[in-house]
């Protein structure tokens, strides 16, 4: 049964279907055809086809039995490198049947591992190199330690261009009988920031409301999904209403489950949009930096943010 989640339903099933990464696809395809792949490192932004390409590779290699020969792990979700090691160990215990003499392990977000954990990962890769091939994926290859990079063939994925995104949207809207205005297409592309997964999710979210995809509808969907509330928190503080600002802050942090560090990041960006004097912007940025430092040091994020908000109250009074 076809999935009703479009990112799955329209996930490319073979090499030609993958858009926007032509060079990579050509090289990987020829490697795959030789039935002997090295360890691979896929580097690139989210939603550019890294996981999809890994899936295509294993499906090409193992055909119908790919599920038995493929292990998918996510480094940022697993609790530590020891869990990864255990899972790899269990998976690698049995040999691959069929003409391909190895199994494939896909480790997503490998750059989320600390350098120490990556060293351990390198050992794991060596220990199981007879029976397993690793495909690592990361956003930044610079965050992957050199010894691992040197053991892998590296492929750098590009952000999808507008024409690629358009191709994807067009294909889906034909199949799903959607009507998309040209302006809406533009906005979906901008909102996706070159992330194909996000682009499809925006499209499906919008289509779940109406098959007529208009500019206005897409904009509403995108902006509803954005946490704009940090600005509201700061506006309350600037207007001198500390209590409401504080309540809103807690509300945002809990509801959206945002960490203190994410809030600080948003505050720091938002300072430049505030209606205050340049000099005060700099002072507030300085305070923000200090608060971030204290949070990183391990202090209670909420107490630090509350103190920061008090500075914004002063700035609102023109006293900072």
């Amino acid at each position: 049964m076809a999935s009703e989640i479009w990112t799955e339903k329209y996930r490319p099933l073979n090499f030609p279907e993958l858009v926007g990464q032509n060079d990579i696809v050509k090289r990987v395809e020829s490697l795959t055809n030789s039935l002997n792949i090295p360890h691979l490192l896929f580097a690139g932004p989210a939603g550019t086809g890294k996981s999809t390409l890994a899936l295509i590779i294993v499906k090409e290699l193992f055909r119908d039995s790919w599920k038995d020969s493929y292990l998918e792990l996510n480094a940022s979700d697993e609790r530590g490198i020891n869990v990864v090691r255990e899972k790899v160990k269990n998976f690698a215990r049995t040999k691959s049947l069929g003409k391909v003499p190895f199994k494939v392990i896909f480790l997503d977000e490998a750059d989320a591992l600390t350098p120490e954990a990556q060293q351990a990962l390198r050992r794991i890769m060596e220990n199981y190199s007879n029976t397993c091939r690793f495909i690592l994926s990361c956003n930044y290859s610079s965050k992957v330690i050199d010894p691992i990079q040197s053991r892998c063939a590296i492929f750098r994925f590009k952000l999808l261009e507008k024409k690629d995104i358009e191709k994807v949207i067009q294909k889906i809207s034909d199949r799903e009988n959607l009507k998309i205005s040209p302006g809406a297409l533009e906005i979906i592309y901008e909102g996706s920031e070159g992330d194909c997964r996000r682009c499809i999710n925006i499209l499906q979210s919008t289509a779940s409301i109406s098959p007529l995809i208009t500019e206005e509808l897409v904009s509403t969907i995108i902006s509803n999904a954005k946490p704009r509330d940090i600005r509201v928190v700061l506006d309350y503080a600037l207007s001198g209403d500390f209590q409401r600002s504080k309540e809103k802050l807690l509300d945002v942090m809990l509801k959206e489950s945002i960490s203190g560090q994410d809030v600080i990041k948003a505050v720091q960006k938002e300072i430049w949009n505030l209606p205050v004097e340049p000099e005060i912007k700099v002072k507030l940025t300085e305070k923000t930096g200090e608060a971030e430092f204290r949070i990183v040091e391990g202090s209670d994020p909420f107490i630090q943010l509350q103190s920061l908000l008090a500075s914004f109250v002063l700035a609102g009074l023109g006293k900072q």
Partner: protein
């Protein structure tokens, strides 16, 4: 007192989840009392721990108005002792003229250690004019062959978790406690038929600083913290201010939360900023204590929180007047309640993330966009979302 003791049944009607066994026991007693020629004089209860073996023995004693003569076989590991202690019990008439029941708890204990003890037990059953009740976890070993032949055998099965759950609810009702239903179910299932373990777990959980507990606890302390807050916020900073937390029966971490909640009620503008800054510095020192295990930092934490925050107010302004209604810190409670809610969101994203081959953290970040898609009932079925998870999605955000 252990709840497992307090709520031990005292009559057959109170024994739950062992109907078959109870019927057998009643018949055994009847036959024994009729003094039938072929009536068995011993009865063995066997089954896993916490299923009611010893309890039923005591219930029998109660219902037949008999004295129980209890022997824990693992304590009495030899022939002489068994002989010495059991004989008089059987031969002497009870002082009160009541019947007697001999209870041999954990017979597996005898058989494995001393063979003599077992033979003596068989003799005892033959010569006894009182019923002998024997409990065991397992009776199918060869050593117990002859004992099995002389006894009525009653199996006590593991108690169904639903029955355990109902009993736990009844206990909570009588103890005036409240525990969430899913925790109760969890305890009942985890007990694997062992009612005693379930009740012990229940008592432990009820004794933990749960939600309802926090509220009860804090009520006693409030008078102290209220006057301390008043002194800091309204009073002039004074050397006595430094000692103020000594008289407050509350850990300093909790005092920080009280200050955090109430500073904005008293201070504004620059005073507010100063007080918040000191609170934040105190928190930094608190963290340093934990990290370095250097307790002298507590001095600074304490000074900032008491004298420091008190001195943050502009002395020209008059804060002394007026009555401020201080509030109980709500942040931790809100966080706790939120975590309960978030756990559903997390389980949804977990299922989704695995299904579409992405990381859970990323799925969580994109949740606002995904929510619209997850409302589709076909998608919900595809991801095998539970009813609770579907309900969560239907709730309007922020409620």
């Amino acid at each position: 007192m252990q709840w497992s003791e307090r709520y031990r049944p005292s009559c057959f009607a109170e024994v739950m989840g062992q109907n078959l066994a109870v019927e057998k026991v009643k018949k055994f007693i009847k036959d024994f009392q009729k003094n039938l020629h072929d009536a068995k004089k011993a009865i063995i209860f066997y089954g896993p721990p916490g299923t009611g073996k010893t309890t039923i023995a005591h219930v029998i004693a109660n219902e037949t108005n008999s004295e129980i003569f209890e022997l824990n076989a693992s304590d009495l590991r030899n022939k002489e002792k068994l002989h010495e202690i059991l004989r008089p019990a059987i031969e002497q008439k009870s002082l009160l003229g009541r019947g007697k029941i001999i209870l041999i708890d954990e017979v597996d204990g005898i058989s494995s250690v001393d063979r003599g003890g077992l033979e003596e037990l068989l003799l005892l059953i033959d010569s006894s004019s009182y019923p002998v009740i024997i409990t065991a976890n397992d009776i199918w070993g060869r050593k117990l062959n002859s004992l099995r032949k002389k006894s009525e055998i009653v199996q006590l099965k593991e108690i169904d978790y639903r029955i355990i759950r109902d009993l736990l609810i009844e206990i909570l009702r009588r103890e005036n406690c409240f525990i969430k239903g899913n925790i109760l179910t969890n305890i009942s299932v985890k007990a694997k038929g062992d009612l005693r373990a379930a009740i012990n777990d229940l008592q432990t959980v009820a004794g933990m600083r749960g939600y309802s507990d926090i509220l009860i606890d804090e009520r006693n302390k409030e008078t102290d913290i209220f006057s301390a807050l008043r002194m800091i916020f309204k009073g002039k900073p004074h050397n006595d201010t430094l000692k103020i937390f000594d008289s407050v029966q509350m850990p300093i971490d909790e005092i920080i939360l009280w200050l955090e909640e109430n500073i904005p009620l008293e201070y504004g503008g620059e005073d507010l900023a100063k007080a918040c800054e000191l609170l934040s510095k105190a928190d930094i020192f608190k963290e340093r204590i934990y990290k370095q295990q250097y307790w002298r930092f507590l001095v600074y934490e304490n000074i900032f929180l008491s004298y420091g925050i008190s001195a943050s107010k502009n002395s020209n302004k008059n804060y002394a007047g007026g009555f401020t209604n201080y509030k109980k810190p709500m942040r931790i409670l809100k966080m706790w309640m939120n975590n309960q809610r978030i756990s559903t969101k997390k389980s949804i994203t977990q299922k989704y993330a695995k299904y579409v081959h992405i990381g859970e953290k990323r799925a969580l970040k994109e949740f606002p966009l995904l929510k619209q898609i997850l409302l589709n009932s076909v998608v919900q079925k595809e991801l095998k979302l539970s009813e609770e998870e579907i309900l969560y999605l239907k709730e309007p955000a922020g409620s």
